[in-house]
Amino acid sequence: MKRRQLLQILGLTPIAGSMSHCVLASELQPGLFFYDQRFDQAISAVSAIRDAIAVDADVTTVWQQAIRPELGSKSLSVRGLTTESFHFCLKTLISDHARVQSASLERVSHDLYLWSIATQPYARMEINA
């Protein structure tokens, strides 16, 4: 799924001044999709996405029960339409346990961000000095 297609499906338009470097969806395998159930815009936007997972702003339970057990030896793809801190916390937690292969973040409303994170099992990094 291309990013443009995803945005169309979600009925979202990036707001002016939003963060750049939004990539993804095209490289991503199907994976978990989180949306913030406190916002009507998120609820209606994800109606086309099967098995989207409703969350609120707190990442703690999602991390401990859904994401962390999946990390380790395999790659993981997660996406979301959530608040910024949900994305920040999840990306930071994931980065401690796996290599982030690609990531994107785009502000699509005052409160909501569309994002994706794709990981690989921790890989060796080259010195770049």
């Binding site: 949900f86 920040f88 080259e126 770049n128």
Partner: protein, 524 residues
């Protein structure tokens, strides 16, 4: 954009140093270029991407490697910026004060060396997080409780070293540390207190050993790299109950704090409790757009709407009772009767709350030592996701509390932001922590924040209030306010710095302390 080099260090010299370190720890643990991006401050307060930017990072696996990295850095004159887990967000994260420094990332050193249930302590390495230690205690079924700060991903050791606080009776984390192992600037290894006596078995039981008590000089400092620390843990108290007391008006903070003081000093209030402002608590479960589309600080009518919706007050005192039921009942009676004097006060226990996601239900977990990340929710209050903490200390008096509140909230609101603050109750002092939430994607907001922060520091200092902890961008400025007797404390710190780290490689600029070769000509 290539990363900045430290002052006086050529690219060749940095390369040679990194090559040596690479041979020592393996190339997979040396991070430069894109691999070092995670060591940037996620909440910058300036618009220069090279300011407070590390050249790279190295992640040693053990104490021997830390010692050798320090020796190599000394040989090549490379400044190091040690971090335990690098989660000191809102204070700079893993980013260094001096651009071009090499971050020494101690995440890999994450051994829980010992947890002693009988005496109630743990001996840990820097990379041990609150989540990790909590899980260890739960898995082993130990009858011990952690004390956690708001974010559970931080380092147990790093938080204590930075004078972090939690919310159980063991909430003063540095007061609960007992015994350290430290690598000095020349690579030498030191154990403090009883740890310096071979064969002694009270390293984590008795702090002082013999001679000067030196542990304090390794907190918020750049005199050494702490590689092990003992931390006292609270025995399971045998019972627990959280409560919340809410107050209707902003000016109630004055009376509330007057009531708090004797209760806290007398240990009727047992824990590191907090009195939190309306918006800070509201933002844990909702964002501003739920209540208003108006720009700027919320109006009184919006405040009332939030109070009704969330069952909270203008101020909310979250505390907890620890111990068997008769003890809890006795303490609660004394606390409730004391606060009943405040007009409009409301008392809540968790079972009184109507919403499933709720501030008291959340704080009830934190006050029994369950690590979480829930507090990050407040960053979303106005959508922008950035924050910085301004944290002056005052006596626990009503007069100081209302004075601090007005001083900070008036300025914050005049800049167009809402006031999100809390008074963390220490034994005899208040940490007035204001979390200023801004749009981190907006350069103009960063400039505005910087301007306002400087005013806050100066106004607080003029009133005699000093910050206990700060973002890397303000370390010099705040150190400059502790200037009694012609800066005699800083001059003493500099003497210690020069003696323990003669090559000046450890965390230059931390807490405003600079090594000799970087002092002259530096902006004051």
């Amino acid at each position: 954009m290539s990363a900045p080099l430290p002052p006086g260090v050529s690219p060749e010299r940095m390369h040679d140093a990194l090559s040596k370190i690479t041979r020592l720890i393996g190339k997979e643990w040396v991070f430069t270029g894109d691999a070092a991006e995670s060591y940037r401050d996620p909440y910058p307060l300036n618009n220069d991407p090279d300011r407070y930017r590390a050249y790279g990072a190295v992640a040693p696996a053990n104490v021997d490697q830390v010692q050798e990295i320090v020796r190599i850095a000394g040989e090549f004159g490379i400044p190091l910026w040690p971090v335990s887990r690098g989660k000191n967000f809102a204070y700079g994260g893993a980013a260094p004060v001096l651009s071009g420094s090499l971050v020494v990332d101690l995440n890999r050193m994450n051994k829980i060396i010992e947890v002693n249930e009988e005496f109630g302590y743990a001996l840990v390495e820097p990379g041990v997080s609150y989540f990790q230690l909590y899980e260890y205690i739960q898995e082993k079924g130990l009858k011990l409780w952690l004390d956690v700060p708001d974010p559970g991903w931080g380092s147990v050791m790093g938080n204590a070293l930075d004078h972090g606080v939690g919310y159980t009776p063991y909430g003063d984390h540095f007061a609960m540390q007992c015994g350290m192992e430290v690598v000095l600037g020349n690579g030498e290894l030191v154990r403090t207190g009883m740890g310096s006596m071979p064969g002694n078995n009270t390293w984590q039981l008795f702090k002082y050993g013999f001679g000067p008590y030196v542990d304090g000089i390794f907190s918020q400092s750049n005199f050494g790299i702490v590689t092990k620390m003992g931390i006292w843990l609270m025995p399971d108290p045998g019972g627990y109950e959280a409560y919340m007391i809410s107050f209707e008006k902003e000016e109630d903070i004055e009376q509330a704090v007057e009531i708090v003081r004797p209760l806290r000093i007398g240990n009727i209030i047992q824990n590191g409790a907090t009195i939190r402002s309306l918006v800070l608590d509201a933002a844990i479960t909702a964002s501003k757009s739920k209540y208003t589309s108006d720009k700027g600080p919320i109006s009184d009518s919006v405040a009332k709407k939030i109070m009704a919706d969330q069952q909270i007050g203008m101020w909310n005192f979250c505390g907890a009772l620890y111990g068997p039921e008769p003890i809890r009942n006795t303490l609660w009676t004394a606390i409730r009767d004391s606060f009943a004097a405040v007009p409009g006060v409301k008392f809540y226990k968790p079972e009184d709350r109507k919403n499933k996601t709720d501030i008291l239900l959340h704080r009830a977990e934190t006050m029994r030592g369950v690590p979480k990340l829930t507090e990050f929710n407040f960053l979303n209050w106005d959508g922008g996701g950035g924050h910085v903490g301004f944290s002056p200390v005052s006596p626990t008096t009503g007069k100081d509390a209302i004075n601090q509140f007005r001083m900070v909230s008036d300025l914050v609101r005049s800049y167009g932001w809402d006031y999100l603050g809390l008074m963390a109750i220490g034994w005899r002092e208040l940490h007035h922590v204001t979390c200023i939430v801004y749009d981190k994607t907006n350069p103009a907001e960063r400039d505005k924040m910087h301007e306002m922060f400087n005013i806050l520091v100066d106004r607080a200092a003029a009133e005699g209030y000093g910050e206990y902890r700060t973002h890397i961008q303000y370390m010099d400025r705040i150190a400059g306010t502790y200037n009694w007797n012609n800066n005699s404390l800083m001059r003493m710190n500099e003497s210690i710095k020069d003696a323990l780290d003669p090559k000046g490689i450890l965390a230059p600029g931390k807490s405003g302390i600079w090594p000799k070769h970087l002092r002259e000509g530096r902006e004051s």
